[in-house]
Amino acid sequence: MELSSAIAESFRLLFSFDAQLWTIIGVSLKVSLAALLFATPFAVALGFFLATVPFRGRRACVIVLQSFLSFPTVVVGLVLYVLLARSGPFGAWELLYTQEAMIIGQAIIAFPVLAAFTLTAVQGADRIVRETALSLGATKLRAALTTLFEVRFAVMAGLFNGFGRVISEVGCAMMVGGNIAGLTRSIPTAISLETAKGEFAQGIALGMVLIVLALGINAALNYFQGEGGMK
């Protein structure tokens, strides 16, 4: 198929609301958002803890966390595969090749991004944010929450960044999801498959969706940052 006709076909698939295509998009969004929902509270709590509580070994923890930022997603998939495979320690749960397995994998991938952004944001917050809250009568917990609220837009940047990372990752999704049509086939795994088959139209259509999502995420981030007093 020529590139021009592939592009034309991709538009047709998108705007004729091709069921197969939109199922793939739906799976991607569902899995990625669920992974973020699952990872965010723990990741933000860890990032905040590392930024505010001094303890022995804190530096090592930060280095490990930052190293996980560049951890290949395919290795996450491999480890998870070994754990969830029938012969693995969690094989009895029968999670391999399910959306749940993809959600776990993507949550693991998003976790260091969210935690590292929170860590940086809170560390970057002026010390007097917390002191001001304390001095006005806040408890330590309330002062911590106030600080987190003050850096919410930087944390939100981490959230969007994490979303961008998980919705476009292919390695882990392919390994633990299995790329099963209608069940675990996501945008990046479908693009990979269709391209291998020489069927570019669906790949291009899905690629356009990813680009639109990336633009939308950045536009939303810019909007919220503007609303957050950064004008």
Binding site: I128, V129, E131, S135, L136, G137, G229
Partner: protein, 217 residues
């Protein structure tokens, strides 16, 4: 006049250097104190220790009926002692939200909060800048918000750190006027400063910090 705050001993060192070594200091209710001293003499550190924002190496003090001797700084004390930074931080949530922050923490209901906040806005002369984002306020306006934010809480002891530093004359005069109005018979205001306009105000008691010790009062 009874001492609102009585420091029996306060010591603070940074490395080998002993910054504060105070054996006896009384702050009485109903008074404004100007705390002077060279840059780096420890004025800010003293205020921050009293406000519980920085630990001392040794601290034995009594505030009203509460004695603090080596124990952790109680959260309840922060309700009575408020410290205003030299460069106050204003939360991103708007001027009114800044002023009512402490009221919310104290469980004041919304109607009362709104009334107190409106009064404080008027008191501090902030009506014309209410639509401006806090980060866009001038240094003087930020101080006005910070003082209004502290005043609505009726602190027994208000500690203000260099409130007029780097301000132009008009802003300085406004801050000095607000500081005078902040003092009452029931509370005590301590202002760390170099500003003669504050030091020479009638009725202001002078404290001087030198080589870790406070004289005057």
């Amino acid at each position: 006049m009874s001492a609102l705050l009585h420091i029996r001993s306060l010591r603070k060192s940074f490395g080998e250097r002993r910054l504060l070594d105070i054996a006896d200091l009384n702050l009485d209710a109903g008074r404004i104190y100007a705390l002077t001293g060279d840059n780096g003499s420890g004025k800010s550190t003293l205020l921050r220790i009293i406000a519980g924002l920085e630990p001392a190496d040794e601290l034995n003090m009594r505030f009203d009926a509460l004695t603090l001797n080596g124990a952790a700084y109680p959260d309840a004390l922060r309700r009575d002692i408020i410290y205003v930074h030299q460069h106050p931080y204003l939360f991103h949530s708007g001027i009114a939200a800044n002023i009512e922050y402490g009221l919310k923490l104290r469980g004041v209901d919304k109607a009362a909060r709104d009334a107190i906040t409106a009064e404080a806005i008027d008191w501090a002369g902030l009506s014309s800048v209410m639509s401006v984002q806090p980060k866009r306020l001038s240094g003087g306006e930020r101080q006005q918000v910070a003082l209004a934010r502290a005043k609505v809480l009726n602190p027994r002891l208000l500690l203000v750190d260099e409130p007029t530093a780097n301000l132009d004359r008009a802003a300085r005069e406004q801050i000095v006027a607000l500081l005078r109005q902040t003092a009452s018979d029931n509370n005590c205001v301590v202002v760390a400063c170099h500003d003669r306009e504050i030091i020479d105000l009638p009725g202001v008691h002078k404290l001087h910090l030198e080589e870790g010790r406070v004289t005057g009062g």
